[in-house]
């Protein structure tokens, strides 16, 4: 018997609750409101109690505590999650399309023989079926899906939902695992952190972002000038970091940082979905790219089809003049 509860996997990253969790809770809230049912947050950790205050948007908070869950590794997490889903039979399980999610969502779906939808941007109920809008083919195609079977496992794109305002009932429940989480073939050893950068781009109000369109390492200098004049910092898309023109701590995107500045000035960035994931919630996005069809223009508020390299010095001049 399936319920109309929606289960959300609360994602914990090195001791903090990842932003995706609140986005998933908002998505879940949108689903349960019309149909009734609860928003259930599943917290897999060694000691999940610490995260309860941050999960106010959930109706029920399942604390699944076990020492084997202290650090993420697929097998114990899959076993625990599978047990919960098997027992609680939610209508859908929402998992973020994150590094952890890319393992758990498909593994869970395969284990339960449940339908799996990737790249979810919008989820709604249509009668008893789930209606999902998914993005695939590098963001160049949208598919509308209908899922009748239950439970459905949905991988939600980060940034597809904004964290909601609605508080939930926030009832805490401790889950007693019956599954054995050990032994496992895959063992977590340690985290390897990048070298400390000079600037934390996630804390900046103004970001000047450079992409392949700046063509050469030397031109990063131009962007630095603009950032300085604006009182912000320079960040980059993946290709620029791969080339070594800026360190990984400046990378914005799926495998980099997620930023939400007041101003995100994207110069010569095409705006592939992986990059968009990292900056789409910026308050004001201005994109500059010589290709009018660049996907960045889909999420930018303002755009210009000019050469970023030509624009930079002109912009520095104009801003300096304006600031007096």
């Amino acid at each position: 018997m399936s319920t109309s509860d929606i289960l959300v996997l609360a994602e914990i990253q090195r001791g903090t609750l990842a932003d995706i969790t609140s986005e998933l809770l908002a998505a879940a809230r949108g689903l349960v409101s019309p149909s009734g049912g609860e928003v259930v947050a599943a917290v897999l950790a060694a000691n999940g109690g610490a995260f309860v205050p941050a999960l106010g948007a959930a109706d029920r908070i399942l604390l699944i505590d076990h020492p084997a869950l202290a650090n993420y590794s697929p097998e114990p997490y899959l076993a625990a999650l599978g047990e919960v889903v098997g027992a609680r039979a939610p209508r859908a399980v929402l998992i973020g399309a994150t590094s952890m999610g890319w393992d758990l969502a498909p593994l869970l779906a395969a284990r339960l023989d449940a339908p799996l939808a990737l790249g979810c941007k919008e989820i709604a109920f249509e009668d008893s079926a789930l209606r999902v809008t998914s993005s695939f083919c590098g963001g160049k195609m949208l598919a509308e899906l209908r899922i009748d079977r239950t439970p459905a496992v949905l991988m939600v794109l980060p940034g597809a939902y904004r964290p909601g305002e609605t508080p939930g009932k926030a009832q805490v429940e401790s889950w007693k695992l019956s599954a054995s989480l050990e032994p496992a073939a895959i063992r977590f050893d340690e985290f390897q952190l990048p070298e400390a950068g000079d600037v934390d781009i996630t804390q900046q109000d103004i970001l000047v972002a450079v992409g392949r369109g700046i063509q050469q390492k030397e031109n990063v200098e131009l962007a630095e000038q603009l950032a300085q004049v604006l009182g912000g910092a320079v960040c980059a898309s993946r290709p620029v970091v791969d080339q070594g023109w800026l360190p990984p701590t400046r990378q914005v995107g799926k495998s980099g940082m997620t930023v939400k500045p007041k101003l995100y000035l994207a110069l010569g960035i095409s705006g592939a979905p992986e990059h968009q994931e990292g900056m789409k919630n910026s308050e004001l996005i201005i994109a500059v790219n010589t290709d009018a069809r660049a996907p960045i223009f889909d999420i930018a508020h303002y755009g210009a089809q000019v050469d970023a390299l030509e624009l930079l010095p002109a912009l520095v001049e104009a801003v300096q003049a304006r600031k007096g």
Binding site: P115, E144, R146, G231, T249, D298, G303, R322
Partner: protein, 257 residues
């Protein structure tokens, strides 16, 4: 160490994608196909592992798209065996449909390590790598950048990539399936002359296995490119004029302090 690599064909996104007459599926008749990028990285990782120790690399692929070109390239790069699995249908193999024949082929090979790209951009309702792992009853972890074999040949150490360039180091006991995001180095270049030589000297092992799993439980009702509607307000003019406009915008929003 025997390593198996799955190579998939995906539609090349350089051409605009078309939707077929039904409105709910891709029209691949005019599409060109290329090897899936992360699968290419998986092949590179496999070759690196082979070069750093002993072992063989077997490439397994479904006969679809421009797979022959991909397979000859793989052979030229150093793959030892190429197994081409028959695919009779005209539609592109979806993860669910592909999983069964590929899993059978892998079962026959019984490799120590299976490397698959962590995703393919045409995946909508399934992810191949974990599907294969589940079918084969093997442990799986994905989003891997970098695999090193341990001296005993029974475990590998992998780096799982997290945001902010954070890596988690994991030790995996073999046999296992890994979802590769990137290898320790970018895919190597192999010159056309070697590919042509491979065309003459390579023999594919052609096998045929039973068709796919049951339906994925997902019905695609409509497919279309994202609407062009919600796009940015474009600023026109020369670079100087645009610069002026942007400055005014920023001033209006109180961002020039």
């Amino acid at each position: 160490m025997n390593i198996a690599v799955i190579l998939r064909q995906v539609p090349d996104l350089i051409e605009p994608l078309e939707v077929d007459a039904s409105g709910a599926a891709l029209d691949l008749s005019a599409a060109t196909f290329v090897v899936n990028e992360t699968d290419d990285h998986a092949l590179e990782q496999a070759l690196l592992l082979k070069e750093s120790g002993r072992g063989t690399v077997t490439v397994v692929a479904l006969d679809f798209g421009e797979v022959d070109n991909t397979l000859y390239t793989a052979a030229a790069k150093g793959a030892d065996r190429i197994v081409k699995v028959a695919w009779e249908q005209t539609q592109a193999p979806s993860p669910h449909a592909a999983a069964a024949p590929l899993a059978e082929a892998l079962r026959t090979l019984a490799p120590d390590l299976v490397l698959v790209g962590v995703q393919a951009h045409d995946e909508l309702d399934g992810v191949l790598a974990p599907l294969l792992a589940t079918r084969l009853g093997l442990p799986y972890v994905g989003v891997i950048r970098g695999v090193k074999a341990a001296a005993d040949g029974r475990t590998v150490v992998v780096c799982k990539e997290f945001p902010g360039a954070v890596m988690a180091r994991l030790t995996v006991r073999l046999p296992a399936v890994l979802g590769i995001l990137g290898a320790d180095q970018p895919p190597r270049y192999v010159p056309v002359s070697r590919i042509r030589a491979a065309m003459k000297s390579t023999r594919f092992e052609e096998v045929s296995h039973a068709a796919g799993l049951g339906p994925s439980g997902i019905a695609v009702t409509r497919m279309a490119p994202p609407p062009a509607g919600a796009r940015a307000e474009m600023l026109t003019g020369s670079e100087a004029e645009v610069a002026q406009r942007i400055t005014e915008l920023l001033a209006e929003k109180g961002l020039l302090k």
